[in-house]
């Protein structure tokens, strides 16, 4: 049995973190709701298992998503995670193959060089040493980038990096110390024994030439063990908790567990999976347009982890979902923020560090406690029978050109329709939800649902993506909910709308609630390609910008909103198009005052392209006087 006292800190840390990870996983599993538990069990013994292993390899180790979007940052994370993993893996193999015993305790692999200083002189052993040195060099190159990033984040292509707390800094310092101390410890030992490969061997012989290598190696082995031990012990209370948590998250997500709208164990798992890498900060328009750089998702999650009052942070967000798309861990950031909005002000921080190892179960109120609205004034719902219902929405009433265009399109389609809120209707409920008042939103949802149910319609068309999202997700309806872009696309495909090609260059702005919020990307672009020359922008589809007018943010000032709008409009009109087309009345309203180029809704340009029938007789049968509902497929 080879033993030396310096391995104690490492062993304490290692067994602590292993025990802790198991205990925490058990607690999380216990706190999951019953259906989620079943999902996880099914996922663990089913097909999701293989997928999870693949994801863990690609995302947690290789960091594929970060590599794709930012190579240098990805390399930094990959060299640390994948490099360390390989070092442990091949270190264990080395200890098992070349050591005295096979099947060793973990510390043998970590401190192999100390216990086998003569290893690696010739043949296969030397080749293996070369490989191990290469891995260490790989990690050190990433570490060098990480150190530089801390001081000038632009080196790795990031404009902003997260600010750290004291404990985070201690953990960071211990993480940084691990590999240089290993390098020096191995080098001194190699120098003393004349072994080692290109890195440890060369450095060792240089150091041994003017320093007492044998005596100096021992303190560095201590330092190596201590920094490993410190890192492991601090891991649960710092952002490095993301390392074990992400594994759990990947399994849970692949098993089909989603945040939903309630706080719970899965929310906590996601909160701890955040590595505070800061990619969300760079993606956020509040940061790069409005100069607000303390409310991004990384800070929200950090605040939740530290039990701080995050209500200000939670409310100050456009809810555009750009960070959701960019997050390399794939955390559902916007749903998490909604959960925190619903909770309102929650403070539990009692400054006890020990409690942070096993935090209380986060019991958040399901609905906000302050300021209950009251909707006893809602009028009696009036219903008119129709096949197609058109719900313009509040915002469309502010931009009458859109609703007039939609009426023309509906008239031209020949369908039997009813304009549900022609005289101004009751709000769809999403603005209340965005303010964290779901219970109150239900009252409005129930009211509108009654009208829709009783009308007997097959299709509900809305012009507003905000309404579309809530109709689609939070209403229990037996109708096909369509955004007007989908509806127009359906009419074109069926041949009910005859459109001319306009000689116009247009760019298309994907509204947040329609694109990232509801996943409708193709239909509007197909319509535009059909009737005009659609130009590409740098911010298409998932990467689209927010217009700044979002109802999601109730805290931002008018000046900052219009700054965001101007910046976004400038980006979208870079190619100098004739028109900037959008599919959201709120975006249209916001952009109209932010750019000199004509801003129009997609319905307006469709009406412009609408072919005027030459004579009534030459119409194709059924195109303009059809009365049966359009087929839904």
């Amino acid at each position: 049995m080879q033993f030396d006292p310096f391995i104690i800190p490492f062993n304490v840390g290692l067994y602590f973190i292993l025990f802790y990870a198991v205990a925490r996983s058990v607690i999380w599993f216990r706190d999951l709701s019953r259906p989620d538990k079943l999902r996880l069990q099914r996922g663990f013994f089913g097909r999701a298992f293989g997928q999870s292993l693949k994801d863990i390899f690609l995302e947690s180790l290789v960091h594929r998503k970060i590599l794709k979007s930012n190579f240098r940052l990805g390399y930094m994370h990959m060299s640390l995670a994948f490099g360390w993993f390989l070092l442990i893996l091949f270190g264990t193999i080395e200890a098992d193959v070349f050591g005295q015993n096979h099947l060793n305790p973990p510390y043998k692999a970590i401190f192999f060089k100390f216990f086998n200083p003569d290893h690696g002189r010739i043949g296969l052993e030397a080749a293996y040493s070369f490989w191990m040195d290469l891995l260490l060099a790989f990690i050190l190159s990433g570490l060098l980038l990480a150190v530089i990033k801390r001081f000038t984040s632009r080196v790795v292509g990031m404009k902003k990096t997260t600010h750290l707390k004291t404990l985070d800094k201690v953990a960071l310092a211990s993480l940084w110390l691990i590999f240089p101390s290993r390098l020096l410890a191995e080098s001194f030992t190699s120098g003393a024994y004349g072994t080692g490969s290109f890195l440890t061997g060369s450095l060792g012989s240089v150091l041994a030439s003017f320093l007492p290598a044998m005596e100096l190696s021992y303190p560095f082995w201590w330092l190596y063990s201590l920094s490993l031990g410190t890192f492991f012990v601090l891991l649960p209370v710092t952002r490095y908790m993301h390392i074990p948590t992400e594994l759990f998250l990947i399994f849970a997500r692949n098993s089909g567990i989603r945040t939903g709208d309630r706080p719970g164990a899965f929310k906590e798992i996601q909160t701890y999976s955040c590595s505070s890498c800061g990619i969300c900060i760079d993606a956020c328009q509040l940061n790069f347009s409005a100069g607000i750089s303390n409310i991004q998702s990384a800070y929200l999650l950090k605040g939740i982890r530290n039990d701080e009052d995050v209500s200000e942070i939670a409310d100050n967000c456009l809810m555009c979902g750009r960070c959701d798309q960019k997050c390399p861990v794939g955390i559902e950031l916007t749903p998490l923020r909604m959960v925190m909005r619903r909770a309102g002000v929650v403070v539990k921080n009692d400054g006890n560090i020990w409690k942070r190892y096993f935090p209380d179960r986060q019991t958040l109120p399901v609905s906000k406690s302050n300021g209950h609205p009251l909707y006893d004034w809602l009028p009696e719902p009036e219903t008119v029978k129709a096949d197609v219902l058109y719900f313009a929405g509040c915002m469309t009433h502010l931009t009458p050109a859109i609703k007039k265009s939609m009426v023309k399109i509906l008239d031209a389609s020949g369908l039997k329709y009813n304009f549900m809120d022609e005289q101004g209707g009751v709000c769809c409920g999403r603005p209340l939800m965005l303010a964290g008042q779901d219970k109150e939103a239900r009252e409005l949802i129930n009211y509108n649902s009654q009208i829709i149910w009783k009308s007997g319609a097959h299709i509900l068309v809305t012009s507003c993506p905000i309404c579309y999202k809530v109709f689609k997700e939070s209403y229990y309806l037996d109708v096909e909910v369509m955004h007007h872009t989908q509806f127009i696309q359906m009419l074109i495909r069926e041949g009910s709308l005859k459109l001319n090609f306009l000689q116009k260059k247009v760019t298309y702005h994907t509204p947040c609630e329609l694109g990232r919020g509801s996943g409708v990307y193709d239909e509007p672009k197909r319509i535009l390609k059909h009737i005009a020359r659609l130009q590409k922008t740098n911010f298409d589809d998932e990467n689209s910008l927010c217009c700044g007018g979002s109802l999601g943010n109730s805290k931002i000032s008018y000046q900052k909103k219009s700054k965001i709008a101007r910046d976004a409009a400038a980006e979208l009109t870079k190619s100098d198009p004739d028109m900037l087309i959008t599919a959201c009345p709120l975006c249209k309203k916001t952009f109209s005052s932010a750019t000199g180029i004509k801003v129009a809704d997609i319905a307006e340009i469709v009406v412009e392209a609408l072919a005027v029938p030459k004579s009534k007789k030459s119409q194709p049968a059924g195109a303009f006087n059809r009365k049966e509902p359009a087929s839904i497929n």
Binding site: S369, N370, G371, H372, P373, L374, Y375, W377, L378, P379, C394, M395, H397, L398, Q423, G424, G425, V426, C427, P431, L432, A435, Q437, L444, G549, L551, S554, K555, I556, S557, Y558, Q559, L586, K589, T590
Partner: protein, 114 residues
């Protein structure tokens, strides 16, 4: 004071000393843009709730500033937060937040609780 033949009608009397300005102060603190409101009434003109009820944000704004909170407390709860008023405001007042803050203020100050 001599009798000029004019008198202050009781119902048109605004007593600034007796009125409770705490709600207005709370809103000023958290939403400074409330100060630049000129009570033009664009918000009331576009209001969806105003279509169905007598709800008028312009009126409520004036009452909050005067400190006559009784009527505000009963009416502020009717808003659906749809945000049209914020979009039409020519002064850039974040009216949606004003309403949310007013509700919060009433909630926090228990004697005025909604």
């Amino acid at each position: 004071m001599g009798n000029f033949g004019f008198a202050i009608l009781k119902e048109r009397h605004i007593d600034y000393d007796a009125n409770d300005k705490s709600v207005a102060e709370y809103i000023y603190d958290h939403e400074p843009s409330f100060r630049v409101c000129i009570e033009c009434g664009c918000c009331s003109a576009t209001c969806t709730t105003g279509l169905f009820t007598k709800f008028s944000l312009r009126e409520l704004n004036i009452l909050i500033k005067r400190g006559e909170n009784e009527q505000v407390r009963d009416n502020i709860v009717k808003c659906m937060l749809c945000g049209k008023c914020t979009l039409v405001c020519p002064r850039g007042v974040n009216t949606r937040n004003v309403i949310m803050l007013a509700r919060e203020a009433f909630q926090k100050n228990l004697k005025n609780a909604v």
